[in-house]
Each structure stands twice: as C-alpha cells, then as structure tokens.
C-alpha cells in the first residue's frame, strides 16, 4: 500500500515524464505532435486501399468494401499499443538507468511511464478508427462509451506483463530479443487478421483461453458491431487485475537485484 501511495505522491513527476516521453519522440521533427495522428491515419488509408480496393477482401457477413480494413485496424491498434507497452517496458530499466540509480523516484514509475504513454497513441488511433467507421460504414452506437473501460483493461494487462518483462529482461538479456518474436506469434495466433469463425473447431477451446482474443473482440463489438461485448470480457478483466497484482509484486521483489546490472 505504501508503494502505491509513494507512486501517487509523484503524480506531477509522472505527468512531466510522460510528456517528456511523448515529446522526445517528435522532438526536432518538423511535423511534431502531428506525427501522433499521421501514423494511424496513414494506416487507415493504406489498409483500406490495399484490402478493399485492390484485394477486395470480403469476410462473410461484412458486405461493405471498407469493412475488412476497419475490422483489421480495430483489433490491430489496441494490440500494437499492448506490444509497444511490453517492448518499452523491457527496455525501460536500461534507458532509465540514470533515473533508477541517481534519483529517489520510485522504481515502479520507470517502466510505468512508457506504458502509460501508449494510452495516448491508442486513444488517437481509436478516435480516427471510430470516425472512419462512422463515415465509411455509418456505424455508431452508445456502446462506444465502453471504450475507456476497454482501454483500462488493455492497460492493466500491459502493465501486468510489462512489470514482469521489465526486470526479467535484465536478468535474461535474450528476452529482449525474443519478445519481438513472441509478440508476433501472439498476433498471428489471436484472430486479428482473420475472423474467429475461420478457426478450426478443435482449436476453439484454446482460443477461448486467450485473453487477448476476448479483449480485442470487445473492441470490435463496440466499434464495428455496435453491440455489448461478449461475457469473455469479464474473464480478461479478472485475469488482468490478478496479473497486475502479481506483476507489481514480482517487480518489487526483483528490482533491487535488477538494479545491480543496469
């Protein structure tokens, strides 16, 4: 509990560090903050063009030609946010080693900063996707109000995993290399590029255990289908919160040892 209180007493530092993290990416660029919007915007345009105009990919039950591109983006953007958070967390202790050693900032904040930053990029991407869905598919619903909850669950899951990989990558350097690979495998195993209906029946129970599937499907439910997310979302929420406690516990338990090596 004191740990959490300690983190909250540094909220202003946290805000500044997040602002610094965001602006450092675009510092010195001509377009500056505009890059934050440009990236997801370009993806919507390029995906729509490739999948809807050139390849004309159609998924059963989705008749509009722009449907597939948006279908892809809706799941992909939160997944990318998750991926960015994990990768940033695994590097955080290395890049933040001077903060870790030379300031009295709680160590818990160091991986937290880049992970919280992913919320900003995720929100911008989601706003663009929601607008595009409205413009191209004429789809909008009150269920969009659930998006903050989904983002929060996504964040919980990211932070839980992020805290674990943050110190583990110090002890096992190979993990930083392996993470990119593992995340790609996870992306392809989760129905992001294909609908869940294409999964062979014998793999369905396995897929149902994948929290990422339920989470990303909830994004699609509220944005594309305009319906209440599946009950699986409760499973993800519970899983994320449980993992979050374990992740913080694990991080606190290992951080003093990890400090010796960065």
């Amino acid at each position: 509990m004191t740990i959490v209180k300690n983190v909250f007493s540094h909220t202003h530092a946290l805000r500044l560090l997040i602002a610094r993290d965001l602006s450092s990416r675009y510092k010195g660029t001509i377009l500056g903050v505009f890059w934050l919007f440009l990236q997801p915007l370009m993806m919507v345009v390029v995906y729509s063009f490739v999948f809807s105009v050139i390849m004309k990919v159609r998924i059963p039950g989705m008749e509009n030609s722009y449907h597939f591109a948006l279908y892809l983006m809706t799941a992909m953007m939160p997944f990318f946010a998750f991926q960015d958070a994990i990768l940033a967390a695994s590097n955080s202790l290395f890049t933040g080693s001077s903060l870790l050693h030379k300031s009295t900032l709680p160590a818990l904040l160091i991986p937290l900063v880049p992970m919280l930053t992913t919320v900003v990029t995720e929100i911008i991407a989601l706003v663009i996707i929601v607008l595009a869905t409205f413009l191209l598919l004429k789809q909008v619903s009150w269920y969009l109000l659930l998006l903050p909850v989904l983002i929060l669950i996504r964040l919980c899951l990211s932070i839980a995993m992020g805290y674990m990989v943050a110190t583990l990558s110090v002890f096992i350097q190979d993990l930083r290399q392996a993470l990119g690979l593992l995340l790609t495998v996870l992306m392809f195993l989760t129905p992001i590029l294909y609908p869940v209906s294409m999964i062979p029946a014998e793999f369905i129970p396995m897929n149902n255990l994948n929290p990422m599937y339920h989470l990303l499907d909830a994004y699609r439910a509220v944005i594309l289908r305009g319906e209440m997310p599946d009950i699986g979302l409760v499973y993800v929420a519970g899983f994320s919160v449980a993992m979050l406690f374990f992740g913080i516990y694990f991080f606190q338990k290992t951080i003093t040892r990890a400090k010796d090596f960065v």
């Binding site: 007493s9 202003h12 530092a13 610094r20 030379k102 009295t104 002890f171 010796d260």
Partner: protein, 406 residues
C-alpha cells in the same frame, strides 16, 4: 531530534558472473555471488544546524555512504534514520535529461523531489536567477559546459528547501564566483538549522566548514569527531603514503646487535621526555609545547669527548625535513657520565615546538667533529604527533602580525 542517525550501516555489493545468477539465487535460495563490502559498521549522527564532513581516499566508501544518505541506494545492514527531506547533489546533473532544456529539467528535477506543479512554478524564477544561466535556460542541457551543469544542479537541489543537504565533490567544478555563492548559500542553510553533509577532497574546506568530520577508510570509520582532529589524522595518513624516502624506524636494540667493535661510538638510547602518552602509543604534543629529547651514546675509551657529536633532524612522515641542528653547529660538547667517562648524554630542548599538525619522527646522527664521518644513526625513531589548535596551513607556525598599511 537528530537529522541523521546511522547505526551500524553496511553496504555490500554483490558480484555475479551472470545476471541470471541473481534471479536463480532468489528462486533457489543458494548463494551465487561474491560479496564486497563497500561500507561496514558505520555509525554516526548529524544534528540540525551541523555541517558534517566526510573525507577519505578514493574507494573508501564515501560515495556509497552519500548514496545511502540521499536514498538512492538501500543499506545491506544497519539502520539509517532520516528526519526530513533530503536533497543531494551526488554526481553531475544526476537525473537531468540531456535533450531537454534547462527549464524543462528544472520542472522535472523539482517534481522528482516531490514538489507539486504550483510549488515549482513559484520557485522557477529563483532557480534560474541563482543559476545565472539567463537565456541558456532555454537550451538543451547537453550543450551546457560542466560549470553550467553544476550551477543548474546546485540551484535546483538547494531551492526545494531541504532539511538535509548532501553535497559531493561536484561543487568544485563551478568557478570561483559560483563556489563562493554556493558556499554562502550552504552556510545560510546551516544557520537556518538544516543539516549538511559535505564530502570533499579539499581538506582545507572540510576543516573550515565542518565542525565534525568522518574519515572513512576501506569502508570503515577510521576516525570521527572534531573536524580539525580528524583531518589531522587523515593528513598524517596521506603523508605516510606520499613519503619521499621510505625509512623503517630503527630501534636502538637493533643498533646494539650490530658489531660494536667496528664502531668507535654508538647511540644507546633516545627518548622523548615528559611527553603525554596516548592510547595508540604515539606521543602527542600541541603546537607550542616544550619538546625535549634525551640522547645517550657510548664511545670507545680511545675517542676524545670532543670528537663525538649529535645531530637531530625532525622529519615529517612524508619525508619533509622540518628542522635539523647539531651540537657542532651550536658549539656544545656532550656531557660525560660522572661514573662512566665513556657514557655520553645530552638533552635537546625546544622551548616552543611550533610545528603544525602532523606525524613526525627524529633522525639522530652520531658524528665526528668534522661532521663528515658518521659513527652511527637512528632513523625515524621517537615518533610523535603534533596537533594545532587553529586551522593554519603549512609545516611550521611562524610568529606574525597584521597591521594597517601606511
């Protein structure tokens, strides 16, 4: 209430072959590391309004101690009680982000010390003012010189109104003007009843600034207490390492073992008279005390008394010869014992021993009346220390006065 109370503080660094070993150690509860104690059994107190100096050679554990005080590192053993907010300048610009401007770093630095946005806004102008960075405050700190860096760091760290200020060597980077300014600010802190821990290789500064000091050597406290005394002891230690000629003390007994048939005269004994003996067996004088040495020699019957003389040189432990005199120069003869004509003796007296603090010894020479031939010598015998009441520097106290210019 003391500002800092350290009880039996110890810090061990662990060395692992591979990082994974540390994780294995935690999981399997088996030892995979070699330990290196950077600090061991360090206990001290620091009261509000006190300046505590920390001195010691490189690698003595000073930095480790300061990091523990600053809270950037946790002790392995022992207890450290800190009453109040600690602010520290440890290494140059710790926590500063090179790509960000001085101003951004002020905000960040203050926020990391736990200040709110409003509190920071109220202080920013003062900080910029004190740092004298003017327009450079809008430049990224990576373009700063080391002097600009330390000015900014010092301004930030001292502006947050700490109760305990920990200052490392860093300050020596600033120019004379800024050093004076920062020194004044530190003194003002002291007067406001804040505690200061000051670590420096400039022993003069430590002696002048601090009332109390700690001398760390190989991770343990060698001495602590009145800064003058601690610094004097540390100086003795430094000079010992830097001494020019390494002369082992020759005891009078070993002289006796040499073949006395070859010598026509030899030294029997030399001892300091009426000296206060202290615990560690080394005699201590205060500057200005009476200093007396009794020297006894033996000559062969064939040798005339006039042909045996004694020279005494006072030598500091770094090899500096402070003063030497001989019975020839002063035209004195040795005194023969009434019962044994071949037993010669003399007492060498200095009415006011005006040496400054240091660790000294005597070289005693037994010479003939041409002062060319040496019968016998005792080197580095009669060790003694001198402690001075003031903070004058040098080897010897010279009488002086100051007066108005014409």
């Amino acid at each position: 209430m003391s500002a800092l109370i350290a009880t039996d503080l110890a810090k061990a660094y662990r060395r692992y072959n591979k990082p994974i070993d540390s994780l294995k150690e935690m999981l399997f509860r088996r030892q995979y590391h070699e330990q290196f104690w950077a600090l061991n059994g360090v206990s001290f107190r620091c009261e509000p309004g006190e300046v505590l100096g920390v001195v010691g050679d490189n690698g003595a554990g000073k930095s480790s101690l300061l990091k523990l005080l600053a809270g950037t590192m946790q002790p392995t053993q022992g207890e450290l009680i800190v009453n109040g907010r600690v602010s520290a300048i440890l290494e140059l610009g710790s926590g500063f982000h090179p790509d960000f401007t001085g101003l951004e770093n002020i905000h960040l630095g203050c926020a990391m010390l736990g200040l709110s946005a409003a509190q920071i806004a109220a202080k920013v102008d003062d900080i910029i003012d004190f740092s004298e960075l003017a327009d450079f405050i809008h430049q990224p700190v990576k373009t700063y010189s080391s002097g600009m860096f330390v000015r900014l760091a010092f301004s930030v760290v001292t502006s947050v109104d700490p109760d305990i200020l920990v200052v490392d060597e860093a300050l020596s980077v600033g120019d004379q003007h800024f050093q004076k300014k920062s020194m004044d600010r530190m003194m003002a802190f002291k007067d406001q009843g804040k505690a200061l821990v000051f670590c420096s290789h400039s022993l003069y500064h430590v002696k002048a600034l601090c009332k109390r000091a700690i001398w760390l050597d190989k991770g343990v406290i060698q001495a602590q207490g009145n800064s003058g005394e601690v610094i004097d002891q540390y100086n003795d230690h430094i000079r010992m390492q830097n001494r020019v000629s390494v002369a082992k003390p020759v005891q009078s007994e070993s002289v006796e073992k040499t073949d006395k048939g070859q010598l026509t005269a030899y030294l029997v004994d030399a001892s300091l008279l009426r000296a206060k003996q202290t615990g560690d067996d080394v005699v201590i004088y205060e500057t200005g005390d009476v200093f007396r040495v009794k020297v006894v020699a033996r000559k062969q019957g064939s040798l005339a008394v006039d042909d045996v003389h004694i020279g005494i040189v006072i030598k500091r432990n770094d090899g500096v010869q402070c003063f030497g005199a001989s019975t020839i120069l002063d035209g004195v003869s040795l005194f023969a014992d009434e019962r044994d004509k071949n037993q010669l003796g003399v007492i060498y007296e200095i009415a006011e021993l005006n040496l400054l603090s240091g660790h000294y010894s005597l070289d005693i020479w037994l010479i003939d009346n041409t002062s060319v031939h040496i019968y016998n010598a005792m080197k580095s015998c009669c060790e003694f220390k001198v402690r001075q009441p003031g903070t004058e520097v040098g080897v010897i106290y010279l009488e002086h006065q100051w007066s108005a210019p014409i």
